[in-house]
């Protein structure tokens, strides 16, 4: 299955690296990634991820929520065509 996630990530050493490491280790591929500095929160990153994998995306989101750097994790979409098309290509 594929899913999209939106995360608010606090500024911190290796915050993005840590987040991506969890996604990989918990069994998901990253199909798309966008990270921009949030205008409303000094230094924080607003991250959007499209992931695919066989495991539960709810469990992945809870693993991400356990990271000290992750202030908020939301599942914003599931089984969207974009991710499938990218995997197929």
């Amino acid at each position: 299955m594929s899913a999209s996630l939106a995360l608010d990530v606090a500024p911190g050493t290796s915050a993005l690296e840590r987040l991506l490491s969890v996604v990989r280790r918990r069994g998901f591929h990253i199909d798309a990634l966008q990270a921009v500095r949030a205008s409303h929160d000094h230094g924080a990153l607003s991250v959007e991820l499209e992931v695919s994998g066989e495991r539960s995306v709810e469990v992945l989101s809870r693993h991400l929520q356990n990271l000290s750097d992750c202030q908020r994790v939301r599942i914003t979409g599931r089984d969207f065509e974009g991710a499938r098309a990218r995997r197929a290509s």
Partner: protein, 559 residues
Amino acid sequence: MNGAELLLRCLEAEGVERIWGYPGGAIMPVYDALLDSPIRHFLTRHEQGAAFAAQGYARSTGEVGVCMATSGPGATNLVTGIADAYLDSVPLVAITGQVPRALIGTDAFQEVDVLGITLPIVKHSYLVSEVESIPGVVREAFATARGGRPGPVVIDLPKDVAQARVAGRPEPVVDMAPASLPSADALAAAAELLRTSQRPLIYAGGGVEKGSAVDALRRFVEATGIPVVHTLHGLGAVPSEHPRFLGMLGMHGTRAANHAVQECDLLVAVGVRFDDRATGKLSEFAPEAKVIHLDIDAAELGKLRVPHAAVRGDLSSALETLACELEIEPWQARCEQWQARWPWRYDAPFDSVYAPALLHQLSKSAPAGSFVVCDVGQHQMWVAQHWSFEHPRQHLTSGGLGTMGFGLPAAIGVQIAHPEATVINVTGDGSFMMNLQELATVRRYDLPIKIVVIDNSALGMVRQWQECFFGNRESEVDLSDNPDFADVGRAFGIQSLEIEYAEQVSAALELLLDSRGPMLLHVRIDRQANVWPLVPAGANNSQMITDGIELRRSACPQA
């Protein structure tokens, strides 16, 4: 003051009284500051020993253990201990020296990216980039290590930050926020499952002790009368002698425990993570059961088995709320029949030492409140099967990572934390050789640890698996060229004794437990001794092999 002195003031403010470590170039400012600190430092003979000693302290007290090493190889030598703490949810703060900031990323002498190396095996980690940030980093690190589901935190401190002048002070220590309470909806769903169950079973793990829920679990068992099985780390949550306790489940679990799991209609999973060593073939684990899963960590709920009721939060509170009287006498009687049908036997008909019998006798002879600290392998499973556990905190074992070499240094940390207690390190000849150098630490601090080396001159568990599942083709498991371990002990100034026959066991154990200082008991056992029962990898827990005869039958059904 400088950054190193500020670091130590912050550690003192966190209540740290002991650190285990090993000095070196990049961490030298901290070691210099240690000379003026009330914190006592214990020098191990390898950084891995420091990490495991700090773990021994943490596991046996529930407090945060602290270890320290220099950059590069010092830091990488801590890594196994950090990973071990991560897998077993042990609160640990590991402080590593780092090369000066200007040299980071230049492949400087003893530079390694310890932050990157440890990313997947820590709850959190810090590279301290400004000396002023030390108080906040230490405060956060300790709160993170001990909060929620405990785990390790790394603080990587560049040498120039440690040397920089600063006028800071420790941040005030704040009380830990209590664990969140479970939701009323989740508890109501769980209560309904309990009420309608005919064959409920408690499957309790290390989270019970980590969540300070041992007493609550015991009250829950008394109120409900539900039979109990434990994981390796759950052992002692309900005392081994309790009539409702069926034993450890899983790969080397008891037959009663595994049968109960396979036949129950409701599994009350408390502080467990459905580890493969416990579940066997996951899709066939507790096949008839609905599941109530209680855990502090939301990420465990539904990770491997989707529960019918997921109760996240404080375990004590949840168990107190769910406690109720149940009418399950037929199921209780069935579990009692299984227990009575398959008791452990210790009447081995041979002259050599039967390790399960020795460990059972040692367990019964050791004073109340004794700690047993294992290594990894056959002896570890024999301890799990045959020791009589009073409390999970008194049984230290590397369960998740399964690290050979854990035992001796962890026992050092336990003995330092509990100087009056009897601390017994049960180890194997393979494991013992992995951190043998810590005998020097035992001697240096005159720690009265009782070391029992169960020696089968082989990597016994691997040899057993090669015998069972690889056509008895032994590959690199022979350790018949081991040194004489009693001589090794004496070389470190430790009283040592060797035994080989069953008739020597009683006198040897008496001498061991009566010795005032450290003592090493070298026990030679049969090389072919195996751990039974055994659930083969990929099988379900009802497919136990209970001895070698059964193994040959299962391998050759026509025989």
